[in-house]
């Protein structure tokens, strides 16, 4: 072993034994470490498979809205879910766990077939919805309507803002900024039914009744989008601008219409010519207000609706009854409080 010099020569047998010992020891250690690391990794992998010990819920409630993905309904859903989970209520929005897009009525039917304990429903006046509500009632599933109401007979409770209060807030905002405008277009997207729109106009008129307006009473014109097709609202608004079928004051009754109309005003260079009042809150709408394109927006606090709905269900479940109308506050955001509103959104 010349490479090791003289000393090593003397003990070649010892070196051999040491080398053999080292090789075996190394192998043993390497094997143990390898197996250890491998087992650890495999355990980690298997842990992913093991069903966690989940919290148990008492009641299963399904929430169905016309547009589950909107910020508003997501806020409602999250707050209801959060509040409910503390009280043993699992609030589910079927569209979050099912990719296929179904109609409200179909979701209703799924909810009923799934034997849920209650349904939170954004009301509308369609016969399909009514049919399913009736079916739910038949299956002893209580239905709570949120934001929009249905026939009182089949639902347990309605949670939402008072429509007169909402109309009053629009009226106040309008009066403060009204110059000589007389024509007011009330634009209801396809999620708002014509009846609601008409009721809104009535409430506006009531709210403005007796108030002095610069150019006398306002002329309200209700425009509703009847088509339920995709992008129907956006196309309708584009057509209004293309045909210049507009009014100096426009009130949009839903978030989607507000955002579309706001963008169209910029695209068609109508900023300053049209006074736009919107509904609900979204980053786009807040930006519009900040830029002065949108005069103001009226919104119902989504979190209040969610929490109130969950509370209403729990009360109904525990006591067997609950008030048939639970009011939620509506608020206005305009140039005066836009900064605070934006800050709040940012903080969220």
């Amino acid at each position: 072993m010349k490479i090791f010099g003289g000393k090593r020569r003397l003990k070649s047998n010892s070196a051999l034994a040491i080398a053999a010992g080292c090789a075996v020891a190394f192998m043993f250690i390497a094997t143990v470490i390898s197996i250890g690391i491998y087992q650890q990794r495999m355990d980690e992998a298997k842990e992913l498979l093991v069903e966690a010990e989940y919290e148990q819920y008492d009641s299963y409630v399904i929430m169905i809205s016309s547009n589950d993905s909107s910020d508003f309904w997501q806020d409602v859903y999250k707050s209801a879910k959060e509040y409910g989970s503390e009280q043993g209520v699992y609030v589910d929005m079927l569209s979050t766990s099912i990719d296929k897009s179904y109609s409200k009525a179909e979701y209703m039917e799924m909810a009923i077939e799934s034997n849920c304990d209650a349904i939170f429903l954004e009301g509308d006046d369609s016969p399909e919805t009514a049919e399913m509500v009736a079916k739910a009632k038949h299956a002893d599933i209580p239905v709570f309507t949120l934001e929009s109401d249905i026939d009182m007979a089949n639902r347990v409770s309605y949670i939402g803002a008072n429509s007169y209060t909402i109309a009053s807030l629009y009226g106040e905002s309008l009066i403060e900024n009204l110059a000589k405008q007389k024509k007011v277009m009330v634009l209801a997207g396809n999620t708002v039914n014509p009846t609601e729109a008409s009721a809104f106009v009535n409430n506006m008129q009531s709210a403005l009744d007796g108030r002095e307006l610069p150019n006398g009473n306002l002329d309200f014109e209700v425009r509703t989008v009847e088509s339920k097709d995709a992008f129907a609202n956006e196309e309708y608004i584009q057509n209004l601008f293309k045909e210049n079928d507009l009014a100096p004051v426009v009130i949009c009754l839903d978030q989607e219409s507000t955002e579309s109309f706001y963008q169209a005003m910029i695209d068609y260079n109508k900023v300053g010519q049209i006074m736009l009042l919107g509904s609900n809150v979204s980053p786009t709408i807040l930006t519009g207000i900040k830029q002065g394109v949108i005069l103001s927006t009226v919104y119902v606090d989504a979190q209040s609706i969610g929490v109130s709905a969950a509370e209403a269900y729990i009360e109904y479940r525990d006591a067997g009854y609950v008030s048939d109308y639970i009011s939620v506050d509506a608020n206005v955001i305009d140039a005066t409080n836009i900064d605070e509103a934006m800050e709040e959104v940012e903080n969220e």
């Binding site: 072993m1 020569r9 003397l10 003990k11 070649s12 047998n13 010892s14 070196a15 051999l16 034994a17 080398a19 053999a20 010992g21 080292c22 090789a23 075996v24 190394f26 192998m27 390497a30 094997t31 470490i33 390898s34 197996i35 690391i37 491998y38 990794r41 495999m42 980690e44 992998a45 298997k46 992913l48 498979l49 069903e51 966690a52 989940y54 919290e55 148990q56 819920y57 008492d58 299963y60 989970s85 699992y90 589910d92 979050t96 766990s97 099912i98 990719d99 296929k100 179904y102 179909e106 039917e109 799924m110 077939e113 799934s114 034997n115």
Partner: protein
């Protein structure tokens, strides 16, 4: 492993070790990889078991829906039978689903699938019953509802399946990572073991080859006759060690053998040399003797006739004299008798002195002081007489005082001393040394000896006793006489 055990690793064990250890190591590493892969494959079944269950559920649902539609279409008993088979199959699968209340999206979906499936089973049952009952309106509306529910269930199963597939894929990914880690570790282990192995084999090969190479080199030196090679150190007790030991032993014993051989040859050579010299001197003595004799037998016969004649004439002294002369010469021609006793030598001296005294009218006073017990010692023949003759010829011949010779035999330490002392002219120290060295040359013309010189006596004594100091000559100077002393070793002699 104790040190002793380690020392006794044999070549065979080393080679077996160098083969077995890597083999075992490789086997272990491969087994690890194999077991890891096997475990991984087993786990794969577990990972995707939930997907399999859902796939089975989905397929069963399809079959049930088709069977229901099939029966409602044809109303045949075969179709009804099919319906019942699939209805039971699906019912069993639905029963296996967990009616849980877990706060988890997938678990809720599973629960919904179970509930919807139970309702769906009820609806299909109602539809089939209505069809059998002939209630056309009812079975149609129920079937439509069942078909919608089928759609909901199908969608839910698909979504749950997808969701679980995503979750399971995470597990799969983690397992693949684990396997990959194992693979990497194994490759690393194999590489290191490979290197260690190489090192190991080189080590073993060296422990086998190095001593052999040295052994071969030493063997070459030895074969070229260099027996003074350094003995090889024995480092191990393996076969090479055994060969090395044997080789060392062989070198040592060859060396010893050669040494002994050399010594014995030396001794033999010396012996032979001595023998030759001795033979040479005897021959020389004999030659001189023969030269001095014309014909000994003739001389004996003549002397005997003279002796008988003298006796018949009544001349007893003459008869005696002639008899003694005959004895003297007889002694001298005992050719084959090289070694004689001291007694015989002294007898010869007696005869010689008698003859000389007759010749010279009894002028030499010969005295003896002899320890009789020492007379058996063996000495070469014809030693004393020539010395006495020398004393008479060179020491006593021309002196004008009374001629005396004294012969003494006595013990002195380990020696038997034979002393012949005269009161003649004596010798110088230089002459003594020359005589003892054998370098003294006497004048041959002057010589009156019967032929055997002192020089011859000294050499024979030296050869016989293998010593240089057998004979010594002492003379205290001019006219102080000469003493010749023989120191005969006593070692082989036992007193009589």
């Amino acid at each position: 492993m104790s040190r002793i055990k380690r020392k006794s690793i044999s070549l065979r064990q080393k080679m077996i070790m160098s083969f077995c250890i890597p083999t075992v190591l490789l086997f272990l590493v491969n087994m690890m990889l194999y077991l890891g892969t096997a475990q991984m494959l087993n786990s794969l079944d577990v990972i995707y078991a939930s997907n399999n269950t859902l796939n089975n559920l989905s397929e069963s649902l399809d079959r049930l829906q088709n069977a229901t539609a099939g029966y409602l279409n044809t109303k045949t008993s075969d179709a009804l039978e099919q319906y019942y088979i699939y209805e039971e199959e699906y019912s069993d699968l639905v029963d296996d689903l967990d009616d849980n209340k877990d706060d988890n999206e997938n678990r809720v979906l599973e629960r919904n699938i179970k509930n919807m499936s139970e309702n769906y089973l009820e609806l299909t049952n109602q539809a089939v019953e209505s069809k059998r009952g002939g209630n056309v309106e009812k079975y149609k509306s129920i079937y439509e509802e069942a078909a919608r529910t089928y759609g909901y269930i199908d969608t839910s199963i698909t979504n749950l399946n997808n969701q679980q597939f995503i979750n399971n894929s995470k597990s799969y990914g983690a397992m693949m990572t684990a396997l990959q880690t194992l693979e990497e570790l194994n490759i690393l282990t194999l590489v290191i073991i490979g290197i260690a192995n190489l090192f190991f084999v080189v080590l073993i090969a060296s422990t086998i080859a190095d001593p052999l190479i040295k052994l071969a080199a030493t063997a070459n030196s030895v074969s070229q006759g260099d027996f003074n090679v350094e003995l090889l150190p024995v480092k191990s007790n393996d076969e090479v060690g055994v060969v090395t030991k044997a080789f060392n032993k062989m070198v040592v014993s060859i060396k010893n053998y050669i040494e002994k051989l050399r010594e014995s040859m030396e001794v033999e050579r010396r012996l032979k040399e001595n023998e030759l010299i001795m033979e040479n001197h005897i021959k020389d003595a004999e030659l001189r003797y023969l030269q001095s004799q014309i014909n000994p037998h003739f001389l004996f016969n003549t002397l005997n006739a003279g002796a008988q004649l003298a006796m018949m004439e009544g001349a007893d002294r003459t008869s005696n004299y002639i008899q003694r002369v005959a004895d003297f010469f007889r002694y001298n021609i005992k050719k084959n008798k090289d070694v004689v006793s001291l007694r015989e030598e002294i007898e010869l001296v007696d005869i010689y002195i008698y003859i000389i005294n007759v010749r010279f009218a009894g002028e030499i006073q010969f005295t003896k002081e002899i320890d009789e017990s020492l007379l058996g010692v063996k000495i070469p023949s014809m030693i004393l007489q020539p010395i006495v003759e020398n004393s008479i010829n060179y020491g006593l011949r021309n002196i004008d005082w009374t001629k005396k010779i004294k012969l003494s035999v006595y013990e002195l330490g380990d020696y038997i001393c034979v002393s012949i002392k005269d009161n003649g002219i004596g010798m110088t120290q230089e002459k003594i040394e020359q005589v003892l060295d054998g370098t003294y040359k006497s004048n041959p013309a002057k010589s009156t000896s019967n032929g055997v010189g002192l020089n011859n006596c000294i050499e024979r004594l030296n050869i016989f006793y293998e010593s240089e100091d057998v004979l010594d000559i002492i003379s205290e100077g001019e006219k102080m006489g000469t003493e010749t002393i023989l120191y005969l070793p006593k070692k082989d002699y036992e007193k009589e």
